[in-house]
Subunit: 172 residues, 2 copies
């Protein structure tokens, strides 16, 4: 069954989900952040099928989140390393982990604690405004049409209702 593609929706959540929102891909990335680079290690650590893993790695390489390097010629063997795009996904996993630690710990506390080496403390990741550094809550964030929103969709009733239209461009 062909799934719906969200890759071209005018929403960065949908586009991200399209890329990494199957069950295995975020965990394949988690392993990469733990330092895994080889097929056999992913396969053993996650216990997923080889065909599923091969397909996920291929997708992550095609999307430039992992880069494939040959490390042995006879027989030919490859390693997979995170690219800048892949490394930049780390905060997304940290946000997921923080939520899971709070809500899915079964009352036993976090399975894995995170030490933030520069400050030395065990940390809980927080998602904040890049400008004022305060936590982002639903009530205090308002979506506006950005420069990448398709012109032909801007006049749809749902879109007009949903977004304020200030015509400003995103600045970080």
């Amino acid at each position: 069954m062909k799934r719906t593609s969200f890759a071209r929706w005018p929403c960065s959540i949908a586009r991200t989900v399209d890329l990494v929102g199957d069950w295995w891909t975020p965990l394949v990335l988690r392993e990469a952040f733990y330092g895994v680079t080889r097929f056999e290690d992913w396969q053993r650590n996650l216990g997923l099928g080889r065909n599923v893993l091969a397909e996920r790695l291929k997708r992550l390489v095609a999307e430039d989140m992992l880069a494939r390097h040959r490390y042995q010629e006879h027989p030919e063997r490859h390693e997979y390393h995170l690219t800048e795009k892949g490394r930049d996904f780390f905060p997304v996993l940290m946000a997921m982990l923080s939520w899971g630690d709070r809500w899915l710990d079964g009352g036993r506390g976090a399975p894995v604690a995170l030490r933030h080496l520069p400050c030395g403390h065990l940390t809980r990741p927080e998602v904040v405004c890049g400008h004022c550094r305060q936590p982002l809550t639903r009530e205090e964030v308002q979506g506006e049409l950005g420069p990448g929103f398709p012109p032909k969709l801007r006049t749809l009733p749902l879109v007009e209702k949903r977004f304020a239209r200030k015509g400003e461009r995103v600045s970080s």
Copy 2:
């Protein structure tokens, strides 16, 4: 085909993926954050099949991310509202959006800009250490066994190799 369940893995990323890591669920939540509460609105806005939507809403209610309320008796109709657990997922979507804005915008800029109302600026969400408020990078975060890690798994070679074992408890 029954998928692998990650719900009991000792990893909050895996548990979160198990709950919301299919293609539609994060978008069902996105709509809830935009204020959608009714089946017909989700169905129209996302264009997904009714059976798929019904199954996702049922899961989110069972997991206490959405609460179901009857708003009409004849015929019986229900609304779905975010619970505290559901509202707390907002930062995860913000982290996904921020990554997608950076890497999946096709060079056209963010489709949707976010205004942070308290500071008034267009914002880019960042994931920071809850203690020192500095951005979290892979190189500066170290995983340690937490209180919720199953005792019987602590001596596995992979686990011993992967985690420092300080025996400290997580504090936020």
